[in-house]
Symmetry: C2
Subunit: 246 residues, 2 copies
């Protein structure tokens, strides 16, 4: 069990980043990652609102892409209030925290920016959706409030003792880096095979595939096997080429 | 089961009042009470931060004293991070929400202001302390974040269905108004009997008594009986006088 990283995707207001850092520190979490913060980093408004959590109690890393921010993670949860029409399990905070605690590798919780929440592409890279029982007529949670709810849920579960049972996996789970590498490999070969035609279908088809792949809970061994299969298919079609990942 | 009222005691920043109202609306709560807000009421900064929750989705009442704000409540919980050295049960959010849901009368959750948290006098009027598993070295939760944690806890429990069991009380619980009236009556007679001597002992002794009384879960009938007993004692000492509550 490793404490989760919290990842703010395209956050806008430094005040919310600071408030998020403060409540992470309140509940003993220290791994904050920012993807493309609007106002750059560091941000004085964030420091002020953090009440001392920044820059030393909570450590911040900045990334350009979600893929890079979650590369070392074995489980990724996407917080969202809106139904997404994606085939993902939807968890409440208690279930989400239980999943985090059962994962032996680093975990991540994604939070969307103030204006639009998480982009669909980020949700598609996640194992499950974490949702809160908000009123339909007033569903928009403040970013730092959403962070507070997950941080508190984690601390409360941690205070209650070790998780009841670790997942009994024979093989190590794949990191998100390995899984993304596998999906990109697959998509490249599909592309070369003319699968994404017409071009307008590329985004929705990629998203559907990624939703299916991320739902499966791949082990590192399975990722390796699948990549071998894709390669074999491509060679059979005479289209394989050297990939940097191979 | 009635949704709880949230009471902010001496809140300072309008922004925090607005953020508290917003997250109450997120989780379907609408009864916000302010005791002596520093900047008066209404407060434009609160309206702005409420994202539309104020003034219509969440209703605000303003009081001068905690006693008046909790007068109609049958259960009062005090949120505090600091140990208070008071003989009160300390509940986590899950237990606190369970208690709220079991109470057939209105309930209240007290939140302290930004600078100093809840005054001891307000904690002494509460049935129990609601505390969060914060890091000792970074224990100060933002006011609106504390509100968010309780609001979410309530909504999550409510979404899971009706409470497992209502308290099986033969008699109706006393409202806090009745309980405070009883304590004040008792304290007045004690005062007349010279109990609070020397004067420096008045505050700690009153607080100890109130802690003991509020821990007992009085029914309305028991309050009535106790007041009769106090009155009888006072008459026996020849010191009874007409009280407005009698």
């Amino acid at each position: 069990m490793t404490a989760p990283a919290f990842i703010l995707v395209a956050p806008q207001m430094g005040e919310n980043i600071g408030a998020a850092a403060r409540v992470m520190a309140n509940f003993g979490l220290d791994d904050l990652r920012l993807v493309s913060p609007r106002d750059g980093w560091p941000n004085p408004a964030a420091d002020t609102m953090s009440a001392g959590a920044l820059p030393d109690v909570v450590k911040v890393q900045v990334f350009e892409r979600v893929e890079d921010a979650i590369a070392d993670c074995g489980l990724v949860l996407a917080t969202t209030a809106r139904p997404r029409g994606m085939e993902k399990p939807v968890l409440g905070a208690v279930e989400a925290v239980a999943r985090i605690r059962m994962m032996p590798k680093r975990t991540a919780v994604l939070f969307g920016g103030e204006r639009a929440g998480l982009p669909n592409e980020a949700v598609a890279l996640s194992d499950a959706i974490l949702s809160f029982p908000v009123a339909r007529s007033f569903a928009s949670l403040n970013l730092a409030q959403a962070v507070a709810l997950v941080a508190h849920g984690y601390a409360e579960a941690a205070a209650s003792g070790p998780p009841a049972a670790f997942v009994d996996m024979l093989d190590a789970p794949a990191t998100r880096d390995e899984l993304i590498g596998m999906m990109e490999h697959f998509e490249e070969e599909l592309d070369r095979a003319g699968f994404f035609y017409p071009e307008a279908k590329r985004a929705p088809m990629t998203q559907n595939l990624r939703n299916a792949f991320t739902r499966a809970g791949w082990t590192a061994q399975e990722v390796s096997t699948f990549r071998g299969a894709v390669k074999a298919l491509a060679i059979g079609r005479g289209k394989a080429r050297v990939k940097r990942d191979d």
